[in-house]
């Protein structure tokens, strides 16, 4: 019995990470990934700077971009050592942060209600259905008219995209819960509030986090568009101004920065999900090890 108990003890998080890392390193995956990156960078370098292929010749090349990015004294004014670069990043991050938190705080409860209460869904969902086909970016001018200042419209657009993704996925999450869990809770004497707390919320959590992942993605998507059209700072704005003022390497620096920041923010959401859904981790581990 003791042996059984020991076997069931959850594997320490660190050991798990080491185990996964080891398995990954032993597989051919790292080599293939390196080959993939090498192909991409090699293609970029060769086509632009070595062979100067027809349309590629005018593009910023690999070495010029990286030289610019890491230069203490960049030709076009943006590099790792220039404070304005970090201001752009921070402004974008702040907008994403506000919009994402707001969208989560409003979207999750709305989605839970949409999935849980039939009446709420029947009244509110039609409005969703009408508003959803309108692309978020079609809201740009209206947002500028509706909301004061230049910051609020950008945040509103980013929020809107995130909100729909979060609310709809949360609703799907509630719908995805096997009805027998809800019935079982009733059988065991749970009130509907208790069922909501003990069954609906944890049951919908995997979908909620899928929704949040999508939500971060679309938030960056709309943020960049909104910043390109209006806005004073931010990475989208940086891309657009660099284009108009013919600072081409800066465009690529801003794009790559966007990729990195975007990747990091969705990784953070993923980590939060793993942390909150500890009950799924052992399941995933046993699946992975067999």
């Amino acid at each position: 019995m003791n042996a059984v108990a020991r076997r069931r003890a959850p594997m320490p998080r660190l050991a798990l990470t080491w185990f996964r890392l080891g398995a990954w390193l032993r597989s051919p995956k790292p080599c293939l990934a390196l080959a993939g990156y090498a192909l991409l960078l090699g293609f970029w370098y060769l086509s632009v700077e070595v062979f100067k292929l027809p349309r590629f010749a005018g593009m910023p090349g690999l070495t010029s971009v990286f030289h610019e990015w890491t230069s203490r004294n960049p030709t076009y004014g943006i590099s790792l050592y220039i404070p304005v670069y970090w201001v752009h990043i921070l402004v974008s991050l702040r907008r994403i942060g506000i919009a994402f938190l707001l969208a989560t705080a409003l979207g999750v409860p709305t989605g839970l209600m949409l999935g849980w209460s039939r009446a709420f869904k029947e009244y509110v969902f039609p409005l969703f259905e009408i508003l959803r086909p309108i692309p978020i970016l079609a809201w740009v001018p209206l947002a500028i008219i509706m909301l004061p200042g230049s910051e609020l419209p950008v945040i509103y657009l980013t929020f809107l995209a995130s909100f729909f993704a979060t609310a709809l996925n949360t609703m799907l999450g509630v719908r995805s819960i096997d009805n027998s869990y809800i019935l079982a809770a009733g059988c065991l004497g749970a009130s509907s509030l208790q069922t909501f707390r003990h069954v609906i919320i944890p049951g919908a959590l995997p979908f909620i986090f899928t929704g949040l992942q999508i939500s971060v993605g679309v938030a960056w998507f709309s943020l960049v568009a909104a910043e390109m059209v209006s806005g004073q700072f931010g990475l989208g704005y940086l891309i657009n101004t660099s284009y108009t003022s013919v600072e081409y390497p800066t465009i690529v620096i801003a794009m790559l920065t966007l990729g990195i920041v975007g990747y990091l923010s969705s990784a953070m959401v993923r980590l939060a999900g793993h942390w909150l859904m500890a009950w799924r981790v052992p399941q995933l581990v046993t699946d992975g090890r067999r």
Binding site: P28, G36, P133, I134, T244, L258
Partner: protein
Amino acid sequence: MTQQAAIITPDSGRLLRFRTAALPRLLFNRSSRRAIVSILAAIALWQLGATSREWLGWPVPVLGHVPAPDAVLVAWYHVLGDAGYWQSWYQSFLRVAMGFAAATAIGVPFGLTLAMSPTCRGIVLPVFELLRPIPPLAWVPASILFWPTQELSIDFVIFLGAFYTIVLNVLGGAETIDIRLVQAARSMGASRINIFRRIILPGVLPSIGAGMEVAIGITWEVVVAAEMISGGGSGGASGAGGGLGFFIWNSYVGGSYPDIVVGMISIGIAGYGSSALVRLLQTRLTPWLEAR
């Protein structure tokens, strides 16, 4: 008619009864009543908010600056006779169709290749993970630099938006294929090509459909933004204006605010219509999914 009725089994009789009952049910059941009530309430609120100067002594927030529904209807009526408006529809549709078709035509075979070959997957997926977080619109200036015409550059950005989604959906679909089906086919002596044609392809069709449905939505998102940025924004206005996104932006710049809402609704309709089209295609391609 009677001949047919004789062939029809009790089952299709059920279907028939359902059909005749469908319309009144649709109009009078509780959920449609509630939908109508809530939509009317929303429009009333909108009208009230847009036309009244103040609520309880406070200037109306947000809604106070929005053009009222009746003004929008009037503007729409005027614009219906305008050739430029329909030209915008046509141009946006053309771009969506181009980008979407290219993304499907390239993305599906590409995804299938990745699904069939672990080596390709190992090489390409990390690169994908690297590039995907860059929002498609961040590519707009680079795309304009690269492609000879602005039209092509817009198409490219649209293509990019749809491409990732389709490829990743095809891959995800291939992962869900029951390995036993492949083993069964192999034990019956099926070749690699046969396995691909008879198992992998039908197995991923549902995910291709799902991916296409998401992709067409993204496509509309991108087309609107691309039209605004390249046509109206500071990205330069060289020739490639037009399209519904440009229509909206132009209305904003020209100060005809009701037209903005007209444009938004038009894009909503266009997007909804094209999604419906893709869904229709999807049910045609995967009839077995309805039997679940």
